[in-house]
Symmetry: C2
Amino acid sequence: MAEAFPSKRTNKRLVLTGYGGINKIKLQRKELSNVKNGHVLIKVEACSINNHDILARQGLNLSMTIRPPCVLGMEVAGTIDECGQGVSSFEVGDRVIGIAWSGGWSEYVSVALGWVFSMPNGMTFEEAAAIPISYLTAYFLLFEYGGLKEGKSILCHQAFDDVGLAVGQLCKTVPHVTLYGTCPHSWQSITRKHGYDYLVDSKSRDYVTDIRQFAPNGVDIVLDPYRGVDNRKNYFLTKRLGKHIMYGGANLRSAESRTWFGAARQWWNTFHQDLSTLITDCKMIGGVVLTHLVQDASGIDWVRTAMHDILKLYSEGVVRPRIDAMYPLEEFNIAMERIHSQRFIGKVILLPTRMPGRIEIIDPDLQQKEIPSSKFQQEDTRTSKEEELVKAKSREQSDESSGSDTKEICQTPTLSKVEGLFSGHETIVLDDN
Amino acid sequence: MAEAFPSKRTNKRLVLTGYGGINKIKLQRKELSNVKNGHVLIKVEACSINNHDILARQGLNLSMTIRPPCVLGMEVAGTIDECGQGVSSFEVGDRVIGIAWSGGWSEYVSVALGWVFSMPNGMTFEEAAAIPISYLTAYFLLFEYGGLKEGKSILCHQAFDDVGLAVGQLCKTVPHVTLYGTCPHSWQSITRKHGYDYLVDSKSRDYVTDIRQFAPNGVDIVLDPYRGVDNRKNYFLTKRLGKHIMYGGANLRSAESRTWFGAARQWWNTFHQDLSTLITDCKMIGGVVLTHLVQDASGIDWVRTAMHDILKLYSEGVVRPRIDAMYPLEEFNIAMERIHSQRFIGKVILLPTRMPGRIEIIDPDLQQKEIPSSKFQQEDTRTSKEEELVKAKSREQSDESSGSDTKEICQTPTLSKVEGLFSGHETIVLDDN
């Protein structure tokens, strides 16, 4: 489209049409607006799915600032397509990381200059799109809230997810840190490679007992992505002089769509802290939501300082985001189902410029050998069910007219279809253990 | 006494006979026990009055572990009088600081080896007795809980008290820190010398408004020694990414004896923190009670590491405890009333080896010129009312027999007497502004 009518370019986007399940997201086209002053238009090569997006789709975003219809997607990587007035630090064609906060699940997204960062040499677009939110979260958790210092111990739950692996890698920058994590048994060998010293299986056993065996007096910094009864457990696991830091809402994302009752129950179980007890326990408790943090007047400075450090660590080989799987924008439904199933290790990426109908699956072993990402396009690892979905989508797309201002390109397949797909799909992903 | 009967030495001590006002403390003598293994017996030259002692006397100590009859006094300085079995790192006559946690308001106190520290060269006994609790509290607040880093801002209430001045001095070790404090107007010029950049008068005005004028987005680290409605104010003043840290209970010490109702009201007003709000506010909240902190298995290591740093900073001239006033042990009542009146700047010290009947008043200007402390003994700055009290006490003492195992030496004067004394006494203290 963009090539056919350059004077009236359109933008392919994933639009959230209402709170709920995956079927609330529709692939649509809309005419591109002019770039605002102080913004750059990024042609998106890769964008990522974050926990925040999942919660926002479910209507569980903490501030309720996201109101459909809107486009989700917090972070992108791509090339600069156009510079708004007053932009002199970038040129068209520059490879950049953009923190869009929303609107990133698109072919093109406009990002304010303060949230745009040059990609270091050697970084792929999928790596670039996987870095900001996960590593900024880990960075603030560890270094700002946690005040991580030499010799401290840390517990990070969901060690296998994007933030968990980022925590593992960033902990390596401080000497003599002991890092505990919770992680299903079958993924522990992969997760351990990212910096974890001890991993316990939180699915089969009570992690409090297991962690207490390693650390009888508790842990200095407990990173707690849960809501509900786990908050009490994690407070209990926090040592005197220690910090219990809450973020995310990992246990809210497991179901595709949540009832308000279920969410309310989780929030109710998020305990109220009696401050007198906090004082006599000699602990700290806190929390962070990145989207709220950056609303501070200093937010942009905090993020730029942190990104500077994180990208430097990338250049030094310390920061290495693990891409779990990549999908064309059109197959967002499979990507999201992968996250709901809690069967991912690292980050799930969407590729707006790739041909629809191709499911990109990462083999982490190949990734570690630094095979260019184009390699993955040449491998057809789809199951027959995945092929079926792709064909069905192509049919839907060809049926659509393309003249209207906002256009739905493909309907989300029903959940049963996705589930069927997913069970076949899961076997394709190769473990690097 | 100790010299007269060396074979059966007695120990002059301030015994807390029950929870309540100053009159619950009695000066008594008791036979000295043998020194336990791994302990040293310190001949106390100076010991200090801490907020913890005041709250304990009132029955408001947070853990209720202090039960009368007992001897208060957390920290002492003096010379080693005797070493228990297994002590090889100290010799009789060594000048030491001892953290006794209790029992310090005595002529002699036995302290476990782990809590004994050599006094650096040039340190006076009164300085040594003024260091551990105040500076350890400030150290843990700033560096462990607060994670103080370059460029951060701090608010410390009661900037004039022992912890407040220690905070001011320790902040100087980190570049580009902005330190706000609350402090009555008339003491601001003295307090400012200890490292404060901005001071607001919390007595005459609402400090929230004043601090917000300096720091519209709030402060990175808020040190909150209050209980009650101030906790909410201080949480409000804490910036995003910031830390609100509670300690002490400074507003509980203002009355000589407290009703349980009053204390309960303060605790009730110590708000419960809704953790969901904490997360969306992106703040941390915590607290510390030093006596609880050190109960951790690592407690002694934390304290020894911190004391090592603090004593090094003393040798470098950074740590300089400000002695507000010194009194012989017998005049503890005047010393305590000085604290209840909230009219002190720095630390109030008791001197067990000084002749009873001499009120020692520090002139901070002289102190800053490093005049030896013996200088102060030669100055008689007592008012006629203070003279009266001293004479009354000497009469009481001469009436007492001294044969019994536990002996009350002098009765506490009534509060009205002390109040009368104090109003005269206050004029003696010279400001160094």
